[in-house]
Symmetry: D2
Amino acid sequence: MVRIVVLGQGLVATHLAVGLERIKSGELEPVGVPLERFEYEIPVKSLEIVGSFDVDPGKVGRTIYQVAKDMLGSQLPVPQSLEAVRVERGIHAGSVKGLIPGARGLDEDLGMEEAVEIVADRLQHLRPDVVINVITTERAEPFETLESVRDRVRRGLVSASQAYALAVLRYAEREARRVALVNAIPAPLANDPVLVSMFEEAGSLLLGDDGATGATPLTADLLEHLAERNRRVLSIAQFNIGGNLDFLALTLPEKNIMKEKTKSSVVKDILGYDVPHYIKPTGFLEPLGDKKFVSMHIAWKTFNGLEDELVVNMRINDSPALAGLLVDLARISYSLLERGYKGTVYEVNAFFMKNPGPREAPNIARITAFQNMVKLLQGLGALSTGLPGRRA
Amino acid sequence: MVRIVVLGQGLVATHLAVGLERIKSGELEPVGVPLERFEYEIPVKSLEIVGSFDVDPGKVGRTIYQVAKDMLGSQLPVPQSLEAVRVERGIHAGSVKGLIPGARGLDEDLGMEEAVEIVADRLQHLRPDVVINVITTERAEPFETLESVRDRVRRGLVSASQAYALAVLRYAEREARRVALVNAIPAPLANDPVLVSMFEEAGSLLLGDDGATGATPLTADLLEHLAERNRRVLSIAQFNIGGNLDFLALTLPEKNIMKEKTKSSVVKDILGYDVPHYIKPTGFLEPLGDKKFVSMHIAWKTFNGLEDELVVNMRINDSPALAGLLVDLARISYSLLERGYKGTVYEVNAFFMKNPGPREAPNIARITAFQNMVKLLQGLGALSTGLPGRRA
Amino acid sequence: MVRIVVLGQGLVATHLAVGLERIKSGELEPVGVPLERFEYEIPVKSLEIVGSFDVDPGKVGRTIYQVAKDMLGSQLPVPQSLEAVRVERGIHAGSVKGLIPGARGLDEDLGMEEAVEIVADRLQHLRPDVVINVITTERAEPFETLESVRDRVRRGLVSASQAYALAVLRYAEREARRVALVNAIPAPLANDPVLVSMFEEAGSLLLGDDGATGATPLTADLLEHLAERNRRVLSIAQFNIGGNLDFLALTLPEKNIMKEKTKSSVVKDILGYDVPHYIKPTGFLEPLGDKKFVSMHIAWKTFNGLEDELVVNMRINDSPALAGLLVDLARISYSLLERGYKGTVYEVNAFFMKNPGPREAPNIARITAFQNMVKLLQGLGALSTGLPGRRA
Amino acid sequence: MVRIVVLGQGLVATHLAVGLERIKSGELEPVGVPLERFEYEIPVKSLEIVGSFDVDPGKVGRTIYQVAKDMLGSQLPVPQSLEAVRVERGIHAGSVKGLIPGARGLDEDLGMEEAVEIVADRLQHLRPDVVINVITTERAEPFETLESVRDRVRRGLVSASQAYALAVLRYAEREARRVALVNAIPAPLANDPVLVSMFEEAGSLLLGDDGATGATPLTADLLEHLAERNRRVLSIAQFNIGGNLDFLALTLPEKNIMKEKTKSSVVKDILGYDVPHYIKPTGFLEPLGDKKFVSMHIAWKTFNGLEDELVVNMRINDSPALAGLLVDLARISYSLLERGYKGTVYEVNAFFMKNPGPREAPNIARITAFQNMVKLLQGLGALSTGLPGRRA
Ligand SMILES: NC(=O)c1ccc[n+]([C@@H]2O[C@H](COP(=O)([O-])OP(=O)(O)OC[C@H]3O[C@@H](n4cnc5c(N)ncnc54)[C@H](O)[C@@H]3O)[C@@H](O)[C@H]2O)c1
Ligand SMILES: NC(=O)c1ccc[n+]([C@@H]2O[C@H](COP(=O)([O-])OP(=O)(O)OC[C@H]3O[C@@H](n4cnc5c(N)ncnc54)[C@H](O)[C@@H]3O)[C@@H](O)[C@H]2O)c1
Ligand SMILES: NC(=O)c1ccc[n+]([C@@H]2O[C@H](COP(=O)([O-])OP(=O)(O)OC[C@H]3O[C@@H](n4cnc5c(N)ncnc54)[C@H](O)[C@@H]3O)[C@@H](O)[C@H]2O)c1
Ligand SMILES: NC(=O)c1ccc[n+]([C@@H]2O[C@H](COP(=O)([O-])OP(=O)(O)OC[C@H]3O[C@@H](n4cnc5c(N)ncnc54)[C@H](O)[C@@H]3O)[C@@H](O)[C@H]2O)c1
Ligand SMILES: [Mg+2]
Ligand SMILES: [Mg+2]
Ligand SMILES: [Mg+2]
Ligand SMILES: [Mg+2]
């Protein structure tokens, strides 16, 4: 069994919880879970969510079942089995200030240092193999040096994601065991050399940053498609609008800037030259809910100097897309831990993340990244070998 | 120098001729020529068009310069150097019956057997290394057996493309030299095992079929993108409309069916399962000219059983896109011939062709095909080694 | 009460039946019913479907409730009250030959003359005020002369729609009462001068042809928008694809041509000049179901000779859109009959129909047509006067 | 002859100047000029630009010919006749602070009061019938009372547009003549009751505000289209991105807010209820130049409670669209002045302006507004009577 703890019981985490249980009960096909086209050494049914942290007063203290019922009950059947896990109070570090009234974390009561220890206590109790970070997008400054970490914690100058990362390390240390932290949000963890080396030291894994779903990985593949034909891209516009809490959060400028950074890095990495572009979460429109609207415009020069253009419009269920990827990130993490991988693993990040760590590692076409990752996993014997059997 | 003869002095061939000369004179950047991002052993400036065949009475007997002036003169500068080549009468085999009034081929005067010999004479005179087929889309029945070839020629039961292929073989045989035929149209040549084995026998190359530009290779990469996330594709609609002679030709049902076949094969090959789809050249709309309008709709199921959808709309200059690829097909053919390759070469077809030969060879994502081809060429020492230098 | 009989218990008729009952029970808002923004003299709740004819063996003999349960049950609640009406066998005239196996009409048993009389009998029994034609699109040749009518019936050379029109006239004659026939399909009834004069003679109404929903009326308003700015339209492409029986029917060439005609007439009527266009139902794609995908491309010249372009993509529930209009067509018909209107009424057709009768009457922008119709109805005192109260 | 002075020799004014001369010389068709489908009492050839004001040091002192050559010379032929007019220094009032380095107005040298008098002097010299305001979008606070005007001028607390409006009034007063000011930018002039009454007092005209081109009037007609079918609009997203100076200006928040206001007012006015919407100029992307990219998404509920949606994507030449409308605004203004109209005229504003004055006057569908305006002009005998002759 792979034991999972989630940080942030929002839409993504709740889709993950509901979808996992539905797949396990046989009621739902594992569509949207990449490796389910193959045979993987760890079946989906051996994954289990054993704990959850949040700071929203409307969630803390309730079961995942209750939270899911409220959030998705009108759209999806919510499995009774989700009553087994109760959402606990986590570390706030101001991550939802101005967004969720009454939000409150352990740090507000106990100070940050103590809060990190308490979360580590709880992790010792819950015994996760993998911790998944899907809290609200927040601003975070990478640690400069190993020495600065302690000091910043003491002064409360860490983001919630950083605090959780440190709690995971404390848990690993106290239990003398290996753990994986999967960071699916834009805060730079796997892109922070200091944190990565701390995880390496602890024989643990830190994968991230910012789960790649929706327009960004598609843009990566579209740009690679153009680059391989040596078309000269002239401009790129990408609009995103949605009505979930995540989009509301991204209307706050300092959160938006975090997302813009992870979204934009794709252009130069893949094309090899920079291009004027406008790529960012553009707005909040409540009735769209979790099904966002994306519009992209790309213009390029073709042979003989003429100009072509392409427009992509999408309606995408935002959160399930990430939830499906997290299923695989959890079991891949487990496989890698078992085989002694530590620090971060670019081959995995390159496919799953918008801003793949380590820092300076480039964005590449997802189709290429996927094949590299499959090769790695096949080499490890984790994935059935042979040509990818098309069993969808 | 790589000597090139084109069959069909239409939009594609004329964009190729004009673009090549403009690149050679330094006036135009080699945008749209895939390998120009790398260093290739044969520079673009060593390619030369030395002959051209057509059956349109408005083209036969005129220089490429005059044809280009009429066709592209209002849009592009037409280099004087194109006065050097005059369009000759080719083999008709009814390929433009009902499309171009007064079209007439050697076969109409001399019978098919004799016409093939005459074209072979002319090729002996022009001495091409590479022959490129870009005549109007036509229906062709693959040869069943080696024995049937002679008989079908005698009875005039071959398509123009097949007749040209045989003329190329005759030329190779008479000169005891190796030649490459690049088939950029849907007629199944590289997908005809009999023809492929004849080229193999002759130490010559037959690449094809149907140049992959526009919506089809993009669909391939989009479907691979979805497949890698294990999204379940529900339906695919793809509309194409344009105003060039090629689109007019495709309003004739038997030509349309040829195109539909090469376009549709992509779905099952890449997804691994079939999906209801509507993929074909849809209509002719004269004012759009060579800049076609493409509209695609793809719907799929995502994690937790919800439905997403994507719409792509494009305005694409149809013919320059293929012309840019032909530049590379010509020089890759030359490199392969030099190294003793014969028959057909899937690694090259898989990237450049909608219906990559040999028959039964699957369509794969273009991004994957590109990397395989680059690897092959690097292995041969034809392409600069190291990671693809991004020099666009 | 306004008594309604429907011809063709397909998607449109079934949405009408279900939606009407749901509105009457207060469970559904009257969204999609144009005049419900105003106060109309006849409330929706006084409309009642009292009879239904079909030729599909899977429908004849069953109640509308059973038919609706099968067709829409997974998507919508189906009111029990629909058990009151049973679908009866109608006149076939080959309208679904090759589409619905086993379809069979009264005419096949009794001959056409007798079949018309039987339907008239049934109408005498059902006593409708309004008959609505929503059978499968079929080919119909307008009657040349009054004299030819009898002869064509005798020889079985009428379409089903024409036969139903004659049955309605027989019913009106026998009962010496006024009736309205609303023709929502492309067969030219209100565009047939002979039929219109027969209805006029009988003091009855014939509205039609082909309900205007979806892309066509939108195109009308878009073209008017461009015309009013004197932009010179250069080309129009309009693709429609869907997965319902109606789209399947339109893959049969002779049905498609009927639709293309009613769809294309809009261009010249509104712009005042003709423009190359491609406007027709393009294909059938089963998974899209009743929610069709529409893609339109319009290019024009703007001031100073530059070129602009517009693309519209839609996902539209095809059948409910027409059903909502039929609610108003039924009660407007009733109001007009009461006030002595007979023959056909252009002001109503111009808004509601793709090919507004009488023949030769032009297509105009829907926004204009709507205002003209509102003025007519206000003049009659049927619609609350004053500026259109925005009560949506 | 109708004598015109333009304020702001930017893209719009320059397209107007170039297009006018090209139409007058017969080289260009009057496409994009609405009333040219009809016969108007004042032919286009009697319009003449006699003066121009700007504050850009790169423009002041040069002829319109020189400015046009730089701006449009690579795209369009620039008529020599434009050498006749030289751009003069106008009033700055900070309108391009932070946008155009070195911009400088008369007010910076002489103070605002004096600057207004100098512009009035110049107008006396140039003798315009119509003054057209197309300066950079700027923030402006309406005047509260007649008394406050003088005071705000003295303290320099007026925007450039307001200062120009006062200069126009001074000119009218000194010459005892009637003048028209057409305000094509978002600053509220025709929506300022104080200014409107000052113009009324002076027997002069003030039309505005903010020329309606592109996405906003199209949205108006689309919403009316939906409203007339009583579809319940659920959400509206509208993205605009372009690469001209106007879009660059709109990235400054206080300019953007002016535009958002005039763009958003359309929703409630036309639907009769408010709807969550995101409608604003979204970003600046230099390579798009003056040909902006627009993307709109509208979702609604249809009959039986199902959901439809529509996406519009456009590539539009921004500035010529407005220039074409200004041709008609100039001659309509002249006709109205001649017939004694004064203050503002809603029937004209309602078609041509995004935020039609007077304040509180609603936005209506453009198709309706157009017909109302045509009726007014026909009533005056300015426009050929009879049904709109389709002479495009
Ligand atoms: N496709 C996607 O949805 C996608 C893709 C990439 C990244 N992400 C990222 O995943 C994250 C979650 O997305 P979502 O749609 O579930 O958002 P959400 O707003 O629905 O959920 C976030 C949850 O985190 C909780 N939270 C906030 N701060 C916390 C803290 N300090 N400790 C514990 N819980 C906290 C919130 O109360 C909320 O329940 C976001 O950061 C988003 O940017 C999502
Ligand atoms: N992007 C693309 O344009 C693209 C992509 C894939 C395939 N193709 C194929 O390439 C071909 C050429 O496209 P195009 O746009 O240049 O078309 P085109 O119609 O402009 O040119 C075809 C030319 O071939 C000539 N021709 C016809 N029959 C001939 C014969 N028997 N012998 C010699 N000449 C003959 C015609 O007279 C014409 O000049 C078509 O078959 C098309 O399907 C084009
Ligand atoms: N928005 C729209 O859906 C729309 C718009 C304009 C016109 N229409 C027209 O409305 C008609 C109905 O559309 P639909 O979506 O309900 O189609 P449908 O195929 O679902 O229904 C047609 C029904 O008519 C029945 N039928 C066929 N021939 C008949 C006959 N001779 N007598 C009695 N019944 C017969 C069929 O069995 C079927 O039940 C079509 O002709 C369509 O073109 C629909
Ligand atoms: N379709 C359209 O282009 C459209 C539609 C509606 C409104 N508008 C408005 O029209 C205006 C002009 O648009 P544009 O595309 O020509 O912009 P532009 O930026 O090309 O031109 C504006 C010109 O005004 C000048 N200017 C700025 N402040 C001035 C001042 N105080 N006095 C004199 N000149 C001054 C600038 O130097 C520049 O030359 C903008 O306010 C825009 O919002 C344009
Ligand atoms: Mg999300
Ligand atoms: Mg072509
Ligand atoms: Mg229908
Ligand atoms: Mg502009």
